[in-house]
Amino acid sequence: MGQAYSAGLTVTDSIVLRKERILPLKGKVLVKKGDKVKAEDIVAETLLPGKVIPFNLANKLGTTPNLITNYLKVKEGDQLKKGQLLAQTKGLFGFFKTAVRSPTDGEVESISSITGQMLLREPRIPVHVKAFIDGLVTDVIEKEGVIIENKSAYIQGIFGIGGETFGEIMMLIDSPEDVATSDQIDESCKDKLIVTGAMAPYDLIKKAVDMGVKGIITGGIDDEDLKKLLGYDIGVAITGHEEIGTTIVSTEGFGNINLAKKTFSLLKQFEGHKASIHGKTQIRAGVMRPEIIIPIEFTAEDLDYKQAKQTILEIGSTIRVIREPNFGVIGKVTALPEKLTNVESETKVRILEAELETGQKVVLPRANVEIIED
């Protein structure tokens, strides 16, 4: 039987992390096993094939496709310079020649005497992969990339937008339920990862982008604000590629939701430390969640990496409610009755009983909680 509850997000002051930093295509690895790297260091690079530029040579020459081979000045595979002669008709008595020149630097990909098409390929595009986290190169995958490990304080977010970035953590709030305002954004926030509390209001985000804030860490985010920021409604949760000028990591979900206490105190504890974050979220197949990674001191012996183990829901487990009512509230499991039970919506589900932080005793569908590791 499939498990009925969500695995929960990791929030911990110390974890051994392992990050694969792999090129999209084979290329060159620039570091070696045992090297210490900084998040901003380039660890591997490659050249992606350039764009293909198709154009109809026969038309340009004013001839039929089957005749173009008579006029070619280049062949498949030739390297090209912009403006180089590709083909030229013989003209009349040496006059009225039609010449076609390359619109780009690159290479001749193919020439077709059936369609008259010529395909050129632009020069290759260099791609760099950065280390993303401060750490130790523990393995090199030849021509593909590296494995970097470190010890970190670590917070998994639930949803984010924007790519990888790093900076110093800066708290704009004093307690997990506070919400920072745009007035608090000033020059001192530049290049920082700011923590804004239970929400990151739209005007704050706008001002943060203007001020050059690297990243925003927030409990909740309002969907309408998000739509305004992006200019479109997110349909399917595959994010991380947005370019709004900063990266946003929401640790709790949509709406005004207090930061989990543990998340707040970790961020507070590491205020001023360098952290790496990204907003990449993918809910389907190959689940990916945003991350906040705060590297801490370690020695090579500390790097005893363990596969994340499946958390188990049992009496005493700390849980977070992830659906109304009591959305976002933390509690402890007090009983796990086996039999299917009707909840208010008349849905028959497996339930658990829990005592919430507020002291309230509740019955919840198991599907509506996630486990928080203590």
Binding site: D233, V236, I322, S345
Partner: protein, 624 residues
């Protein structure tokens, strides 16, 4: 088929998350589905072997069978695989056939091409969808993208295979050659594994075959088959569809972990000989059972499967039993729920909600469901909202289906030249709700709604059936397994479909046409089996529910209001038998073509409450 030697059959469906196994037994002269088991699918780490999940699910079947028959000797698994019994063996050991479908690993993902998007392109899309694929993109010579964009797109998609179609036989070869050149320039790589070349099926203009070979045989695994659009007036989708299935087995399945082993297990007696039964893509199997049922019973069917990420709609219409399938890739109720909001708009969702809700809260609720897709509505209000969203997802998916299911369909169907050029979205859909006989819903929100009445209302509101239509849900989504089972025994598949697969909700009667509020739209006289007679002149804008149990029928005389139609023509009275179900007979005079909800909130909410109360859809307290 004469497969009386089939006494026990196991069928599995290996989905992306769950592997579901059912046991079908021949008991007292009929086939019944007796036991089911399930286990998580194991195509990912750490197991990386689909057969582990199959064995787990079948082990559950075995254990449950032992309990049910109080027989500890029952054994389906031997030497770590599903055991196919030999004639000499005792009856407890093994089964007579094992069949399976699969959608694990994201199913079959294809890219298709055509010269003209609305002609050969549409035919290619139909062939791929009918074979159970997800069509990632249709590249056509006449789509508006510049060639370099098309090349980038082909390169980035990484499909499992490409169906290269275009041109009628004997026509110009230039465009199809150009499409082949684009594919060659993109040098696409298959999605799974880089150890093999990307399969490309060529099903276009016969005359261009040599050109295509020259362009593509070096870099791709090129397979040539008959043109799927040999001329403008006919389609010939069969050969391309068969090739897709062959390649699905050879390439896609063979790349998925453990499938080579599983392919060796799926066997059954065909013509008294134990033969391999190919694993089918799940949607292809669903199409198979729907066509079988439609053909055998001579009915028109629409089936829908609404999932977390996608909604599939299948239909069989016209006397030729033309089959169509569409996949609405981003309409679903968890992963894609936010896209339903984006596509339908907030107003369309809210029109089904009989209470006030803060718009911002609703938006955030939908997004929270997207990022935590496995949660379920605990509060009644949230259930009502999710079902409102479901109605919109179903409605939009059906709009797409109707636009796609246009008149040129199926192998060898002839049509006039004049029609060929208007094959477009111009309302030539073959989906005719007035002649539709059976509407089947499946997927969590429909199959597991707390009240079956909710499933019935979702189907009626989203699909707006016209005239007389039976409603059903597939309780445990058994259609895939039955679809592949039909390959071994049609009899077993259809008997189980009738008796165990469908839960009949009842019958919906809906006069077509617009009327004035309050004027009699339907005069119904229904004689129930217990002798009671329901008789009413029902005004326009109402719903009535008359309970009638599953398996029961009632004699009915249905007289539509003047100008309204319930299937026999305008103003024509219909004498018929109505079938019951767990909900009963629904008389719906809210109007069709158009169906309009009041625009003022107060009137709309009052109407919704009235209808929901009448259908007993939600507890009274939320409708007060």
């Amino acid at each position: 088929m004469g497969n009386e030697q089939l006494k026990k059959i196991i069928a599995t469906d290996c989905g992306s998350t769950t592997t579901k196994a059912i046991l079908i037994e021949y008991i007292d002269g009929e086939y019944r589905q007796t036991i089911r088991g399930e286990a998580p699918t194991t195509v990912e780490a750490p197991l990386n072997d689909v057969t582990a999940g199959v064995i787990n699910a079948v082990t559950e079947l075995e254990e449950l069978a032992r309990l049910k028959y109080n027989d500890p000797n029952i054994k389906f698994i031997k030497d770590d695989q599903i055991h196919l019994s030999k004639p000499a063996e005792q009856k407890d050991i093994g089964v007579d056939a094992y069949v399976s479908t699969s959608s694990a690993g994201g199913g079959l993902q294809m890219m298709v091409t055509g010269v003209v998007a609305k002609m050969t392109g549409e035919s290619a899309e139909r062939a791929a969808l009918g074979a159970g694929a997800i069509v990632m993109d249709l590249i056509a010579s006449n789509d508006k993208r510049p060639n370099y964009v098309k090349i980038e797109r082909i390169r980035n998609l990484r499909p499992d295979m490409i169906l290269l179609a275009g041109g009628v036989d004997g026509g110009t070869t230039k465009h199809i050659a150009e499409l082949a050149e684009l594919i060659s320039a993109a040098d696409p790589k298959p999605r799974l594994g880089s150890s093999y070349k990307l399969p490309v099926i060529y099903a276009g203009n016969k005359k261009a075959r040599d050109l295509i070979k020259d362009t593509l045989s070096k870099n791709t695994d090129l397979i040539i088959t008959d043109n799927l659009r040999p001329n403008l007036e006919s389609e010939n989708l069969g050969p391309a569809r068969d090739k897709i299935h062959e390649l699905f087995m050879e390439h896609v399945m063979a790349q998925a972990p453990g499938y080579n082993k599983l392919m060796g297990w799926t066997k059954g007696p065909i013509d008294s000989e134990l033969k391999n039964i190919p694993i089918m893509p799940t949607p292809a199997a669903v199409g198979n059972i729907m066509q079988t049922i439609a053909r055998q019973q001579g009915i028109e069917v629409v089936g829908v499967d609404i999932g977390g990420a996608t909604t599939d709609i299948f239909s069989v219409f016209t006397e030729e039993h033309v089959f169509n399938r569409t996949v609405s890739a981003n309409l679903g109720l968890s992963y894609s729920i936010s896209n339903v909001l984006a596509s339908a708009g907030l107003e369309n969702i809210l029109r089904w909600v009989p209470f006030d809700i803060n718009h911002s809260d609703l938006r955030n609720m939908i997004k929270n469901k997207m990022i935590r897709p496995t949660t379920i509505p605990q509060l009644l209000k949230e259930l009502v909202l999710e079902q409102a969203i479901a109605k919109e997802a179903l409605r939009l998916a059906f709009v797409q289906h109707k636009e796609f299911a246009v008149s040129l369909k199926g192998a060898q169907k002839k049509r006039e030249i004049a029609d060929a050029f208007s094959q477009s979205l111009s309302g030539e859909t073959i989906v005719n709700m007035l002649t539709l006989d059976l509407l089947v819903g499946s997927g969590g929100v429909l199959s597991h709604a707390p009240r079956r009445n909710q499933s019935a209302m979702m189907l009626v509101d989203a699909f707006l059936p016209e005239g007389i239509t039976r409603l059903a849900v597939d309780s445990i989504f058994m259609m895939p397994q039955l679809g592949v089972l039909a390959e071994v025994s049609e009899k077993a598949a259809t008997e189980v479909f009738e008796k165990d697969c469908l839960i009949y909700l009842g019958t919906c009667v809906a006069p077509v046409g617009k009327y004035k509020e309050g004027k009699t739209a339907l005069t119904a006289k229904i004689e129930l089996p217990d002798g009671e007679v329901f008789s009413e002149e029902i005004p326009f804008g109402e719903i009535r529910l008359i309970p009638l149990d599953v398996g029961k029928t009632a004699k009915a005389e249905l007289k539509p209001g003047r100008g309204l139609d319930i299937g026999e023509g305008k103003s024509q009275t219909v004498q018929t038998e109505l079938h019951g179900g767990v909900v009963g007979i629904i008389l719906d005079t809210r109007g069709r073509q158009p169906f309009v909800l009041p625009s003022e909130d107060e009137a709309r909410v009052a109407n919704l409450k009235k209808w929901m109360n009448e259908l007993d859809v939600y507890p009274k307290e939320i409708l007060e």
